[in-house]
């Protein structure tokens, strides 16, 4: 199934949850609303002709324009087609609905995105920091991140 087909079917099923798409890109992507990710992804996962059952990658993003984002790279083991989903949320109130109920692998990826970008995944079963210590200040991969000066009395910037 081509990206165009996936986009058309998604548009027919969800209407305004599909915000934008760029289907002539090297890897075509579709932008969906951050509060609809779970239902859209569950639908893409379950539809027999889509069967996007393999979440290759989930990346947090800081677009450096006041917005954070999440990028989902999906593929299908059976049909071997791929699609990229994107979603954006404002930096001062970053909420995205979790997809960890759809793909188990999203659990750790979302924890990492929360850790690195501070994106809050609503409905996530266990949203803790993954790579940084629990009591670390700030989210390191944000473009405006300033490293804390001391951590437990140790000087941080070297």
């Amino acid at each position: 199934m081509t990206a165009q087909d996936i986009h058309d079917k998604l548009k027919a099923a969800f209407g305004d949850a599909v915000q934008e798409a760029k289907l002539d890109a090297m890897q075509p992507w579709i932008r969906i609303a951050p509060n609809r990710t779970a239902e859209v992804c569950a639908w893409l996962h379950d539809q027999p002709e889509m069967k996007l059952d393999y979440l290759m990658c989930l990346s947090g993003m800081d677009y450096n324009n006041g917005k954070l984002g999440v990028v989902y790279h999906l593929s299908s083991i059976e049909h071997k087609h791929k699609i990229v989903l994107k979603t954006e949320c404002p930096k001062d109130d970053p909420h995205v609905l979790t997809v960890s109920g759809v793909w188990g692998t999203a659990n750790w990826h979302e924890r990492e995105a929360y850790d690195m970008y501070g994106i809050i995944f609503d409905g996530h079963p266990d949203l803790r920091r993954l790579l940084m210590p629990d009591d670390w200040d700030g989210h390191p991969l944000r473009k405006d991140y300033k490293v804390q000066e001391f951590y437990h009395g140790m000087k941080v910037p070297y």
Partner: protein, 396 residues
């Protein structure tokens, strides 16, 4: 007898608790045991918080991040794309070539560069040698996990021969910085082809020897068969990859199913677990997949050596590497551990705007709690070993 509901939650009897002779259930208490971060069988600095009931594992909570140095932030702060490659090397330090290849491939796809055919063949040869070296570590240390020390030494003797080949090519034994964007840092040295052929002839019988020593050893089979079974649907849902996915009986190999480089011109077969000694997807299946993949890698190397064309080892590159603004690409390659993906976004400058590394070990490790629940504590070492994690890549 006290009502169970009046007790604090950790005293509530779990299913499968011991029954006394009178038929009444004896309450057992859950205990939390820490394995790691400094523990030989966690294969690095990994801490597992294990909740056990007697010797049965109720849950495992992995704590990672001890080796975290934020590769992704480093990558954003480099002054050009080429400088990221040594950092990519240091992610999965047991198979550095495949890491740098994945990143170089991402940059090449963004720039739409075609690399010379000789480069593609050399990359394939190097990556497959690296796969053998990496699987030798995996198999050797897995033997140690199961209590067999001798196979480890044999594995390391053979791995050393591969490292010698790498050393004569690029001077480094572990972290090569060999695959560059658009090409390679050096051409092959004069005797490389000859010596690699010799190695292939030498190594084929050694695989059988390691199989005899370890794989079909009765004790090893008893320890690994039917342990840590990863069912197909769970493997896909958790996006497991590499021997972890193929061990569960799914015929999926990116070299064939999402082909890159010249793998489609070579003949070989992806190896899958068939449950020969136990259930499909148990620890033994993951081990045998690695053993058989080494043989397939030898086939690939021999074919690639025979077909190796003459030519340049560096494509023509623009003076400064600057992909188009908003160009983005997700490239996935099959490393010894599975799918290594790089999601690279450009903002039109000479350094990447965003690099996300999707490490196979990171993703494979996230399925560990799923396959450990209900297992015996002593088996956890073998289950964790069969995932074949490299913490440098888990933590990045």
């Amino acid at each position: 007898m006290i009502e169970a509901k009046t007790l604090p939650t950790n005293y509530v009897t779990k299913p499968g608790a011991i029954k006394s002779s009178s038929g009444k259930t004896l309450r057992t208490e859950e205990m939390i045991v820490n394995m790691g971060p400094q523990h030989p069988s966690t294969h690095g600095v990994l801490r597992l918080e294990i909740i056990i009931d007697g010797e049965i594992i109720n849950d495992v909570i992995p704590h990672i991040g001890y080796l975290h140095r934020c590769f992704e932030k480093h990558a954003e702060h480099m002054t050009n794309y080429q400088q990221v490659i040594p950092y990519a090397d240091r992610m999965d330090y047991c198979s550095a070539i495949t890491n740098e290849w994945a990143f170089a491939l991402a940059a090449e796809r963004m720039l739409k560069i075609e690399v010379p055919e000789r480069v593609e063949y050399i990359r394939v040869i190097m990556a497959e040698l690296q796969r053998i070296a990496s699987h030798l570590i995996a198999v050797g240390t897995y033997g140690i996990d199961a209590g067999a020390f001798t196979p480890f030494l044999y594995c390391f003797i053979d791995r050393e021969k591969i490292l010698d080949l790498f050393e004569m090519t690029c001077g480094a034994r572990l972290l090569y910085n060999y695959v560059w964007i658009g090409g390679l840092s050096h051409d092959l040295p004069p005797k490389f082809v000859e010596q690699t052929k010799e190695f292939c002839t030498y190594f084929r019988p050694r695989i059988k020897m390691i199989n005899d020593l370890l794989t079909y050893n009765e004790i090893f089979v008893k320890r690994t068969a039917n342990v840590g079974v990863l069912p197909k649907d769970v493997a896909i849902n958790y996006a497991a990859s590499g021997p972890m996915l193929r061990g569960s009986g799914i015929n999926w190999d990116l070299r064939r199913d999402d082909p890159y480089s010249v793998y489609d011109k070579l003949e070989w077969e992806p190896q899958i677990g068939k449950g020969e000694v136990g259930a499909v997807g148990d620890c033994w299946d993951r081990h045998i997949v690695r053993m058989r993949e080494m043989e397939q890698s030898l086939n690939i190397i021999e074919q690639a050596l025979a077909k190796l064309p003459e030519g340049n080892v560096q494509a023509a590159l623009p003076k400064r590497i600057r992909p188009d603004k908003d160009a983005e690409v997700y490239v996935r390659t099959e490393t010894p551990r599975g799918e290594l993906g790089f999601y690279v976004v450009s903002d039109g400058t000479a350094s990447p705007f965003r690099v996300k590394a999707r490490g196979p070990a990171f993703v494979n490790l996230s399925v560990l709690p799923e396959i450990s629940r209900g297992a015996m504590l002593a088996d956890l070492v073998l289950i964790a070993g069969s995932v074949d994690i490299v913490l440098g890549e888990v933590d990045r």
